[in-house]
Subunit: 338 residues, 2 copies
DNA sequence: CCTCATCGTCGAACCGGTTCGAAAGCCGTG
DNA sequence: CACGGCTTTCGAACCGGTTCGACGATGAGG
């Protein structure tokens, strides 16, 4: 690879002149600029990222931390990765993806060695052990997922409470009086996934307010447990006229399960859920649902992070943003027959 | 952040001594080593990656290039990403993930600016436009997927031809005489996904050799087209006793489709397929299948790449490796009733 | 006792950019 | 004609590491 010195020699100017021609931070005469550009093309010069980062103290790279939990629905993660990567690129950043099972160590490694200008944390839990490491480094960060203590952190997440209220309201308006709620698996709660209880509590609270009967359950994440659990739950509540599913694995398996049981949607049962548009298309899910909008969250986290990086170091108070959910009606609900 | 100079001052030695204590490339007395270690701990020093990369001309980062094709089964990609990332970390490398829709540009950007020491290309097609860019940079690379021209490149892929032969052999041994073959969608062929015709041609060739009737089709990637296409195909061949499916989206939807048609596996129809173990577990697919072994391919690509990076520049001829497929019998086949 | 090898450490150069201060050349003006 | 100001370019310092050659101290061998 050629260096800026090679270009300078070729164009008959000094290294600094080439640098200024490239950055535009000082005026360069048209004549020398064209000579420099010619030299750059001829030599195929591209500035060395390491050297530039060393001097400017900016790497133009963002860290993306993800953790894969065994026994969890993996495709969901990808929903976030792609929008984050695309948004970063649009802002001029590349993505250093860290999947170290030891999250805090991964953060320290890329932050303390200044490999990245900022960090996006995916799937943040209530007491996420990564947050201590994150606060110890002085790097800007944006979280997707709500921790218990948000002090000093930029956080973005779907408003799961509002999502639950929207769905319960929708069923209540249609006249349903007894509904079943299937949440994510219980081990997600244990891990501290706050979206589980934020959705769950709001749904229960909202149902109580309307005087609706609601039967909350934690679902499963793998077949054949999903099928068995759904069967048992539906058997236990023959009078329920509506089903709220907040569980990707369950909703993906639901069409087959209901078909087998001979249950028609929405004639026999109204079904509402919460999943992303992509996910729904992937599995052609025919359910009225609130969109989880992973792309909105991913992009928003990146823009917030970039703002934090560029606008002075600590300018502005930390931002906790809850994205308002949107209902997409796919016709999987109607008035209860009874 | 503190620098190596701060550590040196704190420990009362020169910068070079600290560097040697860290790298172990020269002997350091126990006495000063402990003093240096104390200083490092006290100051929380971590070497700056950019500075180190600048001098050593090694970034300890691998580029991972992926492209998302609309209308394609996205989860498949993740199967490779995680093993690649884990294998890289075990070798001491981090992963710079590039999802630029313009592949060649992404390669040039990270390679010419020396952000990475080597590149892993995912989902390589027969005439992949990224290969020219790759050859232009002098960076080592490893491809997953078989291009038409492998000159000078390290390539690894599943032996799809052998996979097809294994499956056809399996059915032939059981006594099947008429089988249906569902391949990936036709637009994958147009894009140059060589694994389509490598599997397809081998299956047809093998069937012909045994005198079996085989009906090859290109499948769909999205519902409800999948369902319609499978229905039409099965209707067209009522005498076929076995089904070979080389199509993730189709195989995922197949249990529901067959149940609806009232077709029992394996009593009415023997089914074999090709998918990864994870994928099968995710969707609890009950089919005898050849494993696509994305983890093996991903890890193998990384180890080959690292070998190429560390062992001198161009030591050793390029390697094209076909991973032998393995059949997992899940009991979805039996002797045809007729 | 002198020489020589070895050990442990230091200073300086270097990697490839960026950026600051200054200098050279040119113009218009008093 | 001297002077000030503007434009364009250069040289040098710097970012934070690594590495080479050298140097003083120590100990062994003749």
């Amino acid at each position: 690879m050629s260096t800026i010195g090679d270009v300078a020699k070729q164009a008959g100017v000094s290294r600094s002149t080439v640098s200024y021609a490239l950055s535009g931070k000082r005026a360069i005469s048209d004549e020398t600029r064209t000579r420099i550009e010619a030299a750059i093309n001829e030599l195929g010069f591209t500035p060395n990222a390491g050297a530039r980062a060393l001097k400017t103290a900016q790497t133009m790279v963002l860290g993306l931390l993800l953790q894969f939990h065994p026994d969890e629905f993996a495709p969901a993660m990808l929903q976030y990765v792609l929008p984050v990567s695309e948004a970063a690129r649009e802002e001029g950043y590349d993505i250093l993806m860290v999947t170290d099972p030891d999250g805090p160590r991964g953060i320290r490694r890329i932050a303390d060695s200044d490999m990245v200008d900022g960090i996006v944390l995916l799937d943040v839990t209530a007491q996420d052990p990564r947050l201590d490491a994150l606060r110890a480094t002085r790097k800007p960060a944006a979280l997707i997922g709500l921790p218990r203590d948000t002090a000093g952190l930029d956080v973005i997440d779907l408003d799961f409470g509002e999502a639950a209220r929207i769905l319960v309201d929708h069923l209540q308006e249609l006249g349903h009086r007894e509904i079943v709620l299937i949440c994510p698996p219980h081990h997600v709660v244990e891990r501290g996934g706050s979206y589980v209880w934020r959705f769950r509590d709001s749904a229960i609270e909202r149902a109580a307010r309307y005087g609706l009967q609601i039967h909350p359950y934690y679902g499963e994440s793998r077949q054949p447990a999903i099928r068995h659990s759904v069967d048992a739950i539906l058997d236990a509540h023959p009078k329920a006229t509506a089903l709220v599913v907040h569980n990707d694995a369950t909703i993906a398996a639901l069409p087959a399960i209901l078909r087998e049981r001979g249950v028609d949607v929405p004639t026999d049962l109204s079904v509402v859920s919460l999943y992303s548009r992509d996910f729904g298309e992937e599995f052609s899910l025919p359910f009225t649902a609130v969109e989880s909008a992973a792309d909105v969250l991913g992009r928003s986290a990146v823009t917030q992070l970039v703002r934090r990086i560029t606008r002075s170091p600590d300018a502005g108070a930390p931002v906790v943003r809850f994205v308002p959910p949107v209902l997409t009606d796919r016709g999987s609900t109607q008035h209860p027959r009874r």
